[in-house]
C-alpha cells in the first residue's frame, strides 16, 4: 500500500505547539486510577488489611496452630511468627493469586472493551502505554505486599504480642532483631511478586483473555509447587519462580547462607525480564487497527494447549532430577542436631533449670529417607540419641528421640516427635504459664546447594 496524504487546515486555528503530551507517567496515572476504581482491586486491598487480623482473631479463640507452616507452632506466642506464617502462605499461594488478579486483566481489558484504538489515538505511544501499564501493575503489586506486611505485623503485635521469635536455628531473637528480620523477609518477596506480576502481564497480552491472565499465574504456581515436591536435583527447583518466594528462610537460620537468596533474586529477575521482553514483542507487533476477528469456540486450541502443557510439565518433572541432590542425610543431620540442641536448652531454661551458656548436648543423629532413593525431599525419619552424663559405672544415659521429618526441596523441614518422647505441644514454664514446648515441633533449614 502506498499513500501520500496531506491535510492542511486553515492557519488561523491555534497551532499544536501548546499541547501537552502524554507519556509514561500520564499512562501510569491513568492506569493507577483505573486499577484503584476496580472492585477487584478494592476487595484485594480489603482482604490484605482484614485477612491477617481475621487470622489472628481465629487463632486467639482456639488452641490449634498451623504447625505445618514454618513458625506455625509459635503463632500463639509471637506476633512476628504470625506475620511469617502469613508470608509463608502468601509465598506459596497468595502472591501469585494477587498478581494474577491485579495484572492479568490490565492489557486484556483493552481488548475486551475494544479501547486500544481509542488510547492509541491519544498522545500515548505503544511504548509509553506498555511501560505505564506495567508500572501501575508493579506499583499495586508492591502496594498489596506492603499492606499485607504491615497488616500482618500489626495483627500479630496487637492481638498476640511482641513475644520473642524462635528462629530456625532454635535461637531466641530479640524484639528488634526479630522485627528487622521479618521486614527483610517481606522485602525479599518483592522480586518474586514482580516476577508473577510480569507473568500475568504476559498472559494477559498473549491470550487477550482476562480470565487466562487472572487464573494463569495461580495455575503456573500450582504446577511449580508440584514440581518442587518431585525430583532430587537442585537446578530445576532453583529456577522455578515459586521457589524464589522461599529465599527469605535463610535469614532465620543460625548461620545464614546467601546462595539460595541470591539465586532467588536472579531467578526472579530472569522471569521478569523474559516475561516483559515477550510481552513487549507481542505488543509491538500487534495490529490494533484491524477489526477483531471473532474466533469460533472450538476444541482444537484448548486441546493443543493442554497437550503442550502436559508434555512440558512431564519434561520438567523428569528434569527435576537434574543436578546434585540438595536434600541429603548429612545436610539434614548437620542442621537438625544443633537446632535440637538449642531448643533443648531453651526448653530447660523455660522450665526454670539453670543452663550454662554455650552448653552442648552429646547427641548422635542418624537420618534416613522413607523412600527408595536415599536423598531428596519428602518424608524422613531422624533418631537423635542423647547421651546424658550420670554418676556410676555407666557414664552416660542414652535417651533416643525420634523425629518424623517432612523435608522440602529448599532444605527447610518440619520435624515432629510423638509426645512420648518430648512431651505435649505445650508445657507449663517455671512461672506456671502455658508455653510452646520447643521440642514438640522443630523447624529448620539448610543450604541445599
Amino acid at each position: 500500500m502506498s499513500a501520500t496524504h496531506a491535510l492542511r487546515p486553515g492557519e488561523a486555528i491555534p497551532g499544536p505547539a501548546s499541547r501537552r503530551h502524554g507519556g509514561v507517567w500520564s499512562v501510569y496515572r491513568a492506569e493507577r486510577r483505573k486499577l484503584a476504581t476496580q472492585l477487584s482491586t478494592r476487595l484485594l486491598a480489603l482482604l490484605c488489611v482484614v485477612g491477617p487480623f481475621a487470622f489472628a482473631g481465629v487463632l486467639k479463640i482456639q488452641t490449634g496452630s498451623p504447625a505445618d507452616t514454618l513458625f506455625g507452632v509459635w503463632v500463639h506466642q509471637s506476633g512476628f511468627a504470625l506475620s511469617l506464617v502469613v508470608l509463608g502462605f502468601c509465598g506459596a499461594w497468595g502472591f501469585p493469586v494477587l498478581a494474577g488478579v491485579l495484572a492479568g486483566d490490565i492489557f486484556a481489558s483493552e481488548d475486551r472493551y475494544g479501547t486500544w484504538k481509542m488510547v492509541l489515538t491519544r498522545s500515548s505511544t505503544r511504548r509509553s502505554l506498555f511501560a505505564g501499564k506495567l508500572l501501575a501493575a508493579f506499583t499495586f503489586s508492591i502496594g498489596l505486599l506492603v499492606l499485607l506486611a504491615v497488616s500482618s505485623l500489626a495483627a500479630g503485635l496487637l492481638l498476640i504480642g511482641d513475644g520473642s521469635l524462635v528462629d530456625l536455628g532454635g535461637r531466641t531473637l530479640s524484639t528488634g532483631h526479630g522485627l528487622a528480620l521479618v521486614l527483610a523477609a517481606w522485602l525479599l518477596n518483592v522480586l518474586p511478586m514482580l516476577a508473577f506480576t510480569s507473568l500475568a502481564v504476559l498472559l494477559s497480552i498473549a491470550t487477550r483473555n482476562g480470565i487466562v491472565g487472572v487464573i494463569g499465574p495461580a495455575l503456573v504456581d500450582l504446577v511449580m509447587q508440584l514440581l518442587l515436591l518431585v525430583g532430587t536435583g537442585v537446578w530445576l527447583h532453583s529456577l522455578l519462580a515459586a521457589s524464589a518466594f522461599q529465599g527469605w528462610y535463610t535469614l532465620f537460620t543460625a548461620h545464614p547462607y546467601f546462595g539460595p537468596l541470591v539465586i532467588a533474586c536472579i531467578v526472579s529477575l530472569i522471569w521478569i525480564a523474559a516475561c516483559l521482553v515477550g510481552s513487549w514483542l507481542l505488543i509491538r507487533r500487534r495490529d490494533f487497527a484491524g477489526t477483531p476477528v471473532s474466533r469460533r469456540p472450538g476444541w482444537v486450541v484448548p486441546v493443543r494447549v493442554a497437550v503442550g502443557s502436559a508434555i512440558l510439565v512431564a519434561f520438567l518433572a523428569i528434569a527435576s532430577n537434574w543436578g546434585p541432590a540438595g536434600d541429603t542425610a548429612a545436610k539434614l543431620k548437620a542442621s537438625l542436631e544443633p537446632t535440637f540442641n538449642s531448643l533443648t536448652l531453651l526448653q530447660q531454661r523455660e522450665l526454670g533449670r539453670t543452663v550454662a551458656p554455650g552448653a552442648k548436648l552429646n547427641v548422635l543423629t542418624t537420618c534416613s529417607r522413607r523412600a527408595s532413593t536415599p536423598a531428596g525431599p519428602g518424608d524422613w525419619i531422624c533418631t537423635l540419641d542423647v547421651f546424658i552424663p550420670q554418676p556410676g559405672a555407666q557414664p552416660f544415659n542414652q535417651t533416643p528421640v525420634t523425629y518424623d521429618v517432612s523435608l522440602q526441596s529448599n532444605g527447610c523441614y518440619k520435624a515432629e516427635s510423638p509426645p512420648t518422647f518430648v512431651g505435649q505441644q505445650t508445657m507449663k514454664d517455671a512461672h506456671g504459664n502455658q508455653v510452646v514446648n520447643p521440642l514438640f515441633v522443630i523447624y529448620g533449614c539448610f543450604n541445599p546447594l
Binding site: M1, S2, A3, T4, H5, A6, L7, R8, P9, G10, E11, A12, I13, P14, G15, P16, A17, R19, R20, H21, G22, G23, S26, V27, R29, A30, R33, K34, T37, Q38, S109, Y113, G114, T115, K117, M118, V119, L120, T121, R122, S123, S124, T125, R126, R127, D287, F288, A289, T291
Partner: protein
C-alpha cells in the same frame, strides 16, 4: 493496495465528507492518519509534516475515532474522559465539563457508560476528541447505529464544531446523513480519489435525481413531463409517478401549477449526491433509465 495517492485539503471550519462504498479505503485512510497502521510504501503528511508510524507527537491537532468510539463501561462518562485526557498529559480543570456540555451530555456525565445509548456513546466519542482541542476532527461513521433523530443531532453537533473553526473530515457510506452536513466531498473508489469538490459543484455535476410524485391529475402531469426533455416520467406498478430528473425540477413543478394540477406529494428518492456517488463508484451509466432504476432500487431498499 488499500489507498493510493490520496490528497485532501480540509479548510478551517469546513466539513468534508469522505464517501465511498464499503472497501473503498475510507477507514484505512483514517487508520493511516491516526498512525494505527503504517503505509507499505510512500509517506503521509499531516499539517505539512511527515507522519511517522506510532509517533503520537504528530497527532497533535488531530482527534477523532475510527470505526466507533469505545470506553470503559464500568466507569462514568466523565471519568472516561478524564482518563483519556490523562493520556494526553491531563486536561485543565473544568475542560471535561465543558466538552460534556458541548456534546449535550452534561447531565449524564456521572452515569456509567454501560448505560449509554449508541448515540450517547458517539457524542461521548466526540467529547473525547474535543478534549484534544483538535484543528482537524476525523470521524468515522459517526451516525452509524443512530436513529434518524440521533443522526440529525450528530449532524447539528458537527456543524457547530465547524462553526467554531474546526476542520472536520467525516467518513461515511450513508450518503443521506452527510448531504446536509458537509460543505464539500471527496469520493473514494478502490483506494483512489475519483471526485473532489464542493457541495455546489457536486450538485451541478450530478447526473440527476429521482422523485416520486402524486398530483390531483396524474395523467395530465405525465403529459406535461413530455415537454421537459430532461425529465423522464413513468408510472410504477402501484400507479405512482416516478421522475428521473437530469438537472432541475423547478420548471416542471411551475408548469404543473399553471395547469391547475395540485402537487400532493413530491418526494426525493435519489438525491444528486446519491446519483453522483452511484455514478462515481460503479460502472453503470446514469442516463434517465439508469436513474429510474436507481430510484426503484432505493424505494425497494436495496
Amino acid at each position: 493496495m488499500a489507498v493510493d495517492r490520496v490528497d485532501l485539503v480540509v479548510e478551517e471550519g469546513e466539513v468534508r465528507g469522505l464517501l465511498g462504498p464499503n472497501g473503498a479505503g475510507k477507514t484505512t485512510l483514517l487508520r493511516l492518519l491516526f498512525g494505527l497502521v503504517a503505509p507499505d510504501d510512500g509517506a503521509i503528511e499531516l499539517f505539512d509534516r511527515p507522519l511517522g508510524s506510532s509517533d503520537s507527537i504528530n497527532l497533535d491537532g488531530v482527534a477523532g475515532f475510527v470505526e466507533e468510539p469505545t470506553f470503559y463501561p464500568y466507569l462514568s462518562g466523565r471519568v472516561n474522559l478524564e482518563l483519556y485526557a490523562e493520556l494526553d498529559g491531563g486536561a485543565d480543570a473544568g475542560r471535561v465539563g465543558e466538552v460534556l456540555e458541548q456534546v449535550g451530555l452534561a447531565g449524564r456525565g456521572g452515569d456509567r457508560v454501560s448505560g449509554y445509548s449508541t448515540g450517547m456513546r458517539q457524542r461521548l466519542g466526540i467529547a473525547a476528541a474535543l478534549l484534544r482541542s483538535p484543528r482537524l476532527l476525523l470521524l468515522d461513521e459517526p451516525t452509524s447505529g443512530l436513529d434518524p433523530a440521533g443522526a440529525r443531532d450528530m449532524g447539528r453537533l458537527v456543524r457547530e464544531l465547524a462553526g467554531d473553526g474546526t476542520a472536520v473530515l467525516l467518513s461515511s457510506h450513508l450518503i443521506g446523513d452527510l448531504e446536509t452536513v458537509c460543505d464539500s466531498f471527496t469520493v473514494l473508489r478502490l483506494g483512489k480519489v475519483v471526485w473532489n469538490g464542493s457541495a455546489a459543484q457536486l450538485r451541478d455535476q450530478a447526473p440527476g435525481s429521482a422523485y416520486r410524485l402524486a398530483t390531483s391529475g396524474d395523467a395530465r402531469a405525465l403529459e406535461i413531463a413530455e415537454h421537459h426533455p430532461h425529465i423522464h416520467a413513468t408510472r410504477s406498478q402501484t400507479g405512482e409517478i416516478r421522475l428521473a430528473v437530469q438537472g432541475r425540477i423547478d420548471a416542471y413543478v411551475l408548469d404543473l401549477g399553471r395547469a391547475d394540477i395540485a402537487v400532493r406529494r413530491l418526494e426525493l428518492v435519489v438525491s444528486p449526491l446519491e446519483s453522483m456517488f452511484f455514478a462515481l463508484t460503479t460502472d453503470v451509466e446514469l442516463d434517465s433509465a439508469g436513474l429510474a432504476e436507481l430510484a426503484e432500487a432505493a424505494l425497494a431498499g436495496t
